[in-house]
């Protein structure tokens, strides 16, 4: 009995070894296929929906306007409800269908697919701007269009220093970093933020915002005890707006609240019901309340559909322009007469220098050493329930 099973295991092992030479491969024909996964029904669907509409909108607009060098672009997409195993299934399904590039969404799926896309040589852009993803040594096929979380945090800390001096504050400014309990939340703090604050004479401390909390008064009380003059949020809009409301009840009027990009949007203003007044937002993507050349195409496209960019919000143009940058890489590959493979698209993207997005983001540059496309962004402030510009584009340097 035992011998028979042993034999079977040996056979399986031999088959395994014998089959190691094979490797399936796919080639794109006809339309240019790009894969995408969106969160339309999961925990981040409130922002995932407009982002996905922006990506789909861009592709439709592009195809209506002649496509990519005469070829149509086919977006192969599906909702994955922010479930990592489903993202993995969809990814391999779409790669099998011959996509040359892939649009992801959150930190979970981007991290989970990081090694796989490097093996498959599929350029990947998502809305997760973790600093480490912009390092080609760590993540060779990931590209960041938005300013990385760490860079956002550095820029905000620098602004805090200036603001503190302008206000005539004495001593070191105190900054409370309130974050989502996840890799996303801690990313700017762990990836350089702590050290950056210490080097620049800022007293900073991290405060976790517990998952599913319905009240942040305990955390805010601790922040009051700490004596923070500035609170920086790295979370999504609903907990941030709740914290803003709690802070208002606590009478924290002398504290400046600053949101990094995932809570600096229209949803925050709406949910905070007035408590968002004076909140500052670190925004890598220009909101529709501000004039920008790059917002005209999406606005006109939406107007032709009887909708408006204002009501879709800034995540629409975020998706639109992220897709536009990926498509630019593909365009350059085709124009260079190169075969359309993920590897060549990556090379074309790495040749992008100061690619203009019409003022929606800072000009995008990728190199072989650095996949963080935009190092600069603007700060905005909520006035009368609208995001108004506070500063021009600023970078860390």
């Amino acid at each position: 009995m035992v011998r028979r099973w042993t034999l079977l295991f040996v056979v399986v092992s031999l088959l395994a070894v014998a089959s190691f030479g094979c490797r399936p491969g796919g080639q794109a024909q006809g339309p240019v296929k790009i894969g995408a996964i969106f969160d339309l029904s999961g925990p981040t669907s409130d922002v995932g929906l407009p982002y996905s509409e922006g990506i789909r909108g861009f592709v439709e607009w592009l195809n209506d306007n002649g496509g990519l060098n005469g070829r149509q672009v086919e977006l192969v997409w599906q909702d994955y409800a922010y479930e990592v195993p489903r993202a993995e299934q969809l990814y391999s399904q779409f790669v099998q269908e011959g996509v040359v590039a892939f649009m992801g969404w959150g930190t979970g799926d981007t991290e989970a697919l990081r090694s796989r896309i490097a093996d498959d040589k599929i350029p990947f852009m998502s809305a997760s701007y973790s600093h480490v993803l912009g390092n080609p040594d760590e993540a060779p096929y990931n590209f960041l269009v938005g300013t990385s979380y760490s860079d956002q945090f550095f820029i905000v800390l620098k602004w805090i220093l200036e603001d503190w001096q302008a206000k005539g504050g004495s001593g070191a400014p105190k900054v409370a970093f309130m974050h989502h309990p996840s890799p996303f939340g801690l990313s700017p703090w762990e990836q350089g933020g702590k050290e950056f604050a210490a080097q620049n004479g800022i007293e900073a401390q991290a405060f976790e915002m517990p998952r599913g909390a319905t009240d942040f008064t305990p955390e805010l009380s601790r922040i009051q005890e700490f004596g923070a003059q500035y609170v920086v949020f790295q979370t999504v809009s609903s907990p941030a707006s709740l914290a803003l409301k709690n802070a208002k009840s606590l009478g924290m009027t002398d504290v400046t609240f600053i949101c990094l990009n995932w809570c600096a949007d229209e949803i925050l203003v709406e949910l905070a019901e007035g408590a968002a007044e004076g909140t500052i937002g670190a925004m890598p993507f220009t909101p529709p309340t501000v004039e920008a050349e790059g917002l005209k195409a999406p606005a006109e496209f939406l107007a032709s559909k009887g909708e408006s960019l204002e009501s879709k919000g800034l995540h629409y143009s975020q998706g639109w322009w992220t897709m536009a940058v990926m498509v630019e890489g593909i365009r350059r590959t085709l124009e260079g007469g190169n075969e359309l493979t993920g590897e060549n698209v990556k090379m074309s993207l790495e040749e992008l220098r100061n690619f203009e997005t019409g003022g929606v983001t800072a000009p995008i540059t990728f190199t072989t050493e650095d996949h963080r496309g935009s190092k600069a962004m603007r700060l905005f402030i909520v006035r009368d329930g609208r995001w108004e510009p506070l500063t021009d584009f600023r970078s860390v340097e």
Binding site: V12, A16, S41, Q89
Partner: protein, 347 residues
């Protein structure tokens, strides 16, 4: 027509598969598993690998919940222990995967014993609460023991190498998972033919009676936790190497509940039920997803509603299967076999 099953020697009586039909079915199944990767698409292979790993995890959980009757909500935590142990050994110390995976299994078994200690005094829902605590504690340790686990950062695990080749495709990993799943199924099938396995079942059916007939409850409960955690750790370790990147978000309480759902849908206390449950819980969402994609092109209006509908359909199908056959898919399979056993002369 058979009038009974008779054996003329002990060897045949002791066999794992005693009837010719069983042996033929098993042979066909194994042949199918061996041929599958050569004909399947990469997408099919991804699904197969996910099912394979889930089967190992589900069998592990079934040893504890289905066979020994100890409810556990700590599945995600034990998978995390296996994944992180193997991942850290491979990533930090360069231990080859064929060594790091068994070590991870043993470490998980040890952790399982520690969190199994409350089972001596707690039963049923109270034990569920104690294992829920295990889930929370392990999650906390992983996210806060930064120097070891990397904290909330993802841990990159190098792809395993076997005979100089990197095992980085679904096709290659299939064989590793197949071997591991085969070992798990065979071990568990034999376990419940042994003294130890019978003791587990005795504890499940009536623990006081078991103690009266001489089963050392304390020892066997802990042994059940260790055995179960060993295989759950195996599933976790395989996940780490298969995905080559892990973060704590992959091993939350939702995973624990998903696996409980797998073994309940599949059939408590059965091995083929673990496989059915794992396959069902992975294939059903994928199937609904693909139906959704097809429908989207045909009826754009459906597309906007679809995400919400998908979740609803998933829930509805689960409830439907539980009502049709509360004992799970394994029982459904048995019913089919029984029907054909006497077919066409059923009475």
């Amino acid at each position: 027509m058979e009038s009974g099953i008779f054996f003329t020697d002990y060897r045949a009586d002791m066999a794992l598969r005693r009837k010719p039909a069983q042996q033929v079915r098993l042979g066909l199944f194994i042949a199918l598993l061996l041929i599958f990767p050569f004909v399947a698409s990469p997408y099919g292979l991804t699904l197969a690998n996910q099912i394979g790993i889930a089967t190992i995890g589900a069998i592990g959980l079934n040893i504890l919940v289905g066979y020994t009757g100890q409810i556990s909500l700590g599945q995600g935590a034990f998978m995390a222990v296996g994944a992180y142990t193997s991942g850290i050994l491979a990533a930090r110390l360069g231990v080859p995967f064929w060594l790091s995976i068994p070590i991870a299994c043993l470490v998980t078994a040890g952790v399982g014993v520690i969190f199994g200690l409350p089972s001596l005094r707690l039963k049923g829902l109270y034990l569920a609460m104690a294992t829920l605590a295990a889930q929370e504690i392990v999650e906390w340790v992983i996210t806060h023991w930064t120097s070891l686990t990397g904290g909330t950062e993802a841990l990159v695990v190098p792809a395993p190498t076997l005979l100089g080749a990197r095992v980085n495709t679904d096709f290659r990993f299939y064989w590793i998972i197949l071997l591991a799943a085969g070992f798990t199924a065979l071990f568990t099938a034999n376990l419940f033919r042994s003294r130890v396995g019978r003791a587990f079942v005795a504890i499940r059916d009536q623990d006081i009676a078991a103690e009266v007939i001489g089963v050392n409850i304390f020892f066997y409960k802990l042994l059940a936790f260790a055995t179960s955690s060993f295989f759950v750790g195996l599933a976790g370790a395989l996940t780490a190497h298969y995905r080559s990147i892990i973060s704590w978000e992959r091993f939350t309480i939702e995973v624990s509940i998903l696996y409980l759902a797998m073994i309940i849908i599949g059939g408590l206390g059965t091995i083929n039920g673990s496989f059915f449950g794992a396959a069902f819980m992975i294939l059903l969402p994928a199937f609904i997803n693909n139906v959704g994609r097809t429908l989207r092109d045909v009826a754009p209006l459906v597309a906007t509603l679809l995400p919400a509908v998908q979740q609803g359909v998933f829930g509805a199908v689960l409830i439907f299967f539980l009502i049709v056959e509360p004992e799970g898919l394994a029982k459904l399979w048995r019913n089919i076999k029984d029907y054909f056993y006497v077919w066409p002369f059923s009475y």
